[in-house]
Symmetry: C2
Subunit: 598 residues, 2 copies
């Protein structure tokens, strides 16, 4: 069975040594009293919860899955899930970054980010229950009426009740404009909602007494398409004014999907038959309201793959040191053993280092983005808020797509290190692969992310946001460009940064003539952008490590950071050479293929 | 549920229009009377068997899996598997390319290759039962005593009995030198074999009355390591002189693995407790004897992924034409529908074309290799036999690793086209991914293949075999170099062929100084070599299509071939640019990482 060690030291490195999050966060009045010890202590406890409470039920949850009782429409989560959730609520983990007005602890989002990385590394399927609840919290917090907030937010903050996002219908996933679920206004100001939803994660379960469904539906006279969608809050049980539970609302689970992975999470088909809901936000503006939740969810999905990358790496590393098989090509290394541990083989190291670099680059990028999110929400300076929000918008599709593609590659590499044993359920490695696979699909496929990045976030404002982020890269290059020890990291980064401007302009021009050119280049473009961001953070991490060494540190931790950065630039970053070539090949080789795709 | 259409026209194109297999094969006396109609007719029937008999039980076989009765040690294959196998035997499919001396039909291996591609596309888990049996047939045919052949080959030829390869033990997979199973010589010339084997595909089942296990074990005074391994034939039931079944031999299934995919195939733990076997080949020379089987198996594994690539592509293509979601970026295409079919989106086409190109390149390469195998076995000219065998040896690790890596990418792309629906079991797309995943691991991991290719097959004879294959590329370049219409295909191929020589020499020199350099470059090197071979076949296929068009053909089939070749060179082949860069980065960035991998 796999094990999981919370990567606390690595998180501290990023937070305190690379990003100086305490200095950055204390400039926000709300977080003025944050200090490093508090952050570290919370993460240490969060790590314990992840590794001791939910990690041990990850593999069994996968074997067991969720079970629907077709007569009662109730779903039983796998053994241990409910108890673990009770401990989560009891520990106050749901309230971590929530608003103190509703019982939250008001901690920065950076903390939430790190805790969720660990929860996901320990058990993605379980973590989706609180994850979706937190998304519902955010949507209600941003768009709910005062009455809704007062009634529901305390229970979402404490975690006593959970939440869902009910978007997808059988005929519409990416294209929510097609959705058909109807909402009929009632005399009392409520709505009766009727329709069928599918793929509803955490859609029904026995872990909490009530579930708050956020449901997209159409009002009777709504415009067609995506401008006619409204958002409704539909509780599983009605809630009385004293917050006690009332009657069952007719929103029933009619089926659970049998799927490739995340078996411990109930992916529900929900049937609404005149279920009573209240409107969240304005009529016909459900999609923008839902996007509050969706953007958070996209960062959350990247975080799921980050967690899986780390845990898969840890287990593959341990196995590679232990498993004896063949001798090193350059001569026996373990003379006292009947074979060498497989970590002596260069390609085994390459697979391990790939996963490690993806984890470390992903962690730096995610914590950085979380810090920007804290600024975007509560920084006193409006310009800082706006700029931060813009860069978060730029990085969100990259985190979602780049980190989940990387996570799938990383979990596959880690599984491959196990050889045949990796294909067997009991080692847990193939579960990481199956769980990681959904992350490339849900909350907007990775293709959709790439269109969001290139079409909207970059070309949408003539590259202004990209330039904003590019200024930081320029500053780093200016600062470190003369440092000879940094040249192996700075040179490729500077080269790519330079190329990126031309590359973007070129696609922009082509897209201006034919919009399909954007769609033909966007997926490759996103990976190049991902490497630009990773390259920047790896250079920053290397810079910190070199400074520590210059100050006399002989701590192998910093040597490790340099080795990983070196590996990253030598073995992963060069992918950009091919990606730019294929992205530049033009869309004709895709579109003029009607005979090939007949 | 997925469907499968045998790709007969594509096979005919490769066989008759690109490779001229009939001319090539009729130069072999044994196959002198082969003609195109016969080949096509056999494949048509084979395609029917695949699509009508075993494809319908693929998804259900995955859901159901194999069940072990722990008291009787008997295994039940999924519903329908036994009946389908009876039809396979009845149809004479097992005997296709077997020796007429033992009841075989003596057809060329090319036929077997194509039939197996279709069987694998229809149902990989089922096809492993006859596939392993055929491997056992080949090992016995090459190394068995006359008595063994007479007794066992007719039953393997007819398929009445099945076979296995028993190599792996819990502590040894890649490194068979570590194996511990013991063989004690008996007074009557037989051996009593004791030990534990794991991961034995098709290791126990109810589809045939007897199973012939080929077991690697050590004689009492065997040298240590891989030079002390012998091969034994251990039947499940002893066989009397009249070929009737005798007593049960104590080789029992003690467990079945729960694994990521190929659920329909029983992956058995086998316990041998003094099971009686007979020696196959010479004492202590079991490994070379087993390699007859292993090389065939490696081609077979590439073929499994080829089959999966094709079937996944077919289903994703159908879905992309049907599923309505969003509008084309360049304006509405299906005005009469509420959304455009997703095939209008460039990236959806890219995913489809990637799978298609991998299927078509893989098919050309595999049929070509099968044709060489026919020559290697039975061509009257010894030099042709030797040259063919050498090139088969070169292409075998490429087929195994390149086609299985491509197959994993292709099945994942096809699944991604389905969006969330691809993650659900009932569409069958995620099964293709799970089944395809094992192919990168078993019969020697893809890393092992890359070391076999670069270390043994290429550097092992100073690139002589590679040059042999390179001569064909040179000939094509010389022939088509002046043809302007071919330049888009010939130029990149010629460039890579030129680079390849330098690239190989460079790694050879580095490897001479430090053998680990080979291990640090081999995986990337193999993919570059794969593209060199694919590039060669895509150029040949494009050349055929252009000739047909020049002759006045307006058949869209040839237009499709040109589009696919164009896509391949524009979007897939450029991967070589990055691969050569990373392969050249040197092994230090992998080996000087002890702190990073602490």
């Amino acid at each position: 069975m796999p094990t999981y060690t919370p990567p606390l030291r690595d998180m501290q490195f990023v937070m305190h040594e690379v990003l100086n999050v305490v200095d950055e966060l204390t400039s926000i009045p709300r977080h003025a009293d944050i200090d490093a010890d508090t952050l570290n202590a919370v993460l240490e406890e969060g790590g314990k919860f992840a590794s001791e409470v939910i990690q041990p039920i990850n593999l069994s949850g996968d074997s067991e899955g969720c079970v629907l009782d077709k007569t009662t429409h109730e779903v039983k989560a796998p053994a241990g899930f409910k108890d673990a959730y009770a401990k989560y609520v009891e520990g106050g983990w749901a309230a971590l970054s929530c608003d103190p007005e509703y019982g939250g602890q008001g901690l920065p989002f950076v903390v939430n980010q790190c805790v969720y990385e660990m929860l996901n590394g320990a058990n993605q399927a379980w973590t989706m229950y609180p994850g979706l609840s937190h998304g519902a919290y955010e949507a209600l917090h941003a768009h709910g009426t005062d009455e809704q907030k007062k009634k529901y937010l305390p229970k979402l903050t404490s975690g006593e009740w959970t939440g869902t996002m009910c978007l997808t219908e059988p005929h519409c996933g990416t294209d929510l404009g097609l959705l058909r679920t109807k909402a009929e206004p009632q005399a009392d100001g409520t709505y009766k909602i009727t329709g069928n939803k599918i793929f509803i994660s955490a859609g029904e379960h026995d872990m909490a007494p009530n579930i708050l469904h956020l449901v997209l539906a159409r009002l009777p006279d709504a415009p067609k398409g995506s401008k006619g969608i409204s958002l409704f809050l539909v509780p599983k049980f009605h809630v009385n004014d004293d917050c006690s539970l009332g009657a069952r609302n007719p929103i029933f689970c009619t089926g659970l999907e049998h799927k490739m992975g995340i078996h411990g999470n109930a992916t529900a088909q929900l049937s609404l038959d005149g279920a009573v809901g209240t409107l969240v936000g304005e009529p016909n503006k459900g999609l923008p309201a839902m996007f509050v939740m969706m953007n958070a969810a996209r960062l959350g999905v990247g975080n799921q793959s980050l967690g899986l990358t780390e845990v898969a790496y840890q287990n593959a590393l341990a196995y590679a040191k232990e498993r004896l098989q063949m001798r090193s090509l350059s001569g026996t290394k373990a003379k006292d053993k009947e074979a060498d541990p497989i970590i002596v083989h260069p390609d085994v190291r390459k697979m391990l280092l790939t996963a490690k670099a993806y984890a470390e680059g992903g962690r730096a990028m995610s914590i950085y983005t979380a810090m920007l999110l804290d600024k975007a929400l509560y920084h006193p300076d409006e310009k800082v808020r706006k700029d931060s929000e813009e860069v978060v918008g730029l990085l969100t599709p990259i985190i979602k797509a780049f980190l989940t593609d990387n996570g799938f590659a990383a979990t596959n590499h880690a599984m491959q290190v196990f050889g045949g044993h990796g294909y067997i359920h009991e080692t847990g490695m193939e579960q990481f692969v199956r769980d990681a696979r959904i992350n490339m699909i849900y909350e907007g496929t990775n293709t959709v992310q790439s269109l969001d990045l290139l079409g909207r976030k970059i070309l949408g404002n003539q590259g202004a946001t990209l330039k904003k982020f590019g200024k930081q890269i320029e500053a780093l290059i200016a600062e470190e460009g003369v440092n000879e020890k940094m040249s192996e990291f700075i040179n490729p980064l500077a080269y790519l940064a330079d190329q990126m401007t031309k590359f973007t302009t070129e696609i922009g021009f082509k897209g201006f003539v034919n919009a399909d050119e954007v769609g033909g280049a966007s997926v490759d473009y996103l990976r190049v952008a991902g490497h630009l961001v990773f390259g920047y953070f790896f250079a920053r991490m290397a810079s910190v490590a070199l400074k520590k060494q210059a100050e006399g540190s002989t701590n192998p931790f910093y040597t490790a950071k340099l080795q990983t950065a070196r590996f990253y630039f030598a073995r992963l970053f060069p992918e950009t050479a091919s990606l730019m070539r294929t992205a530049r090949s033009g869309v004709a080789n895709l579109l003029e293929t009607d005979e090939a795709l007949a």
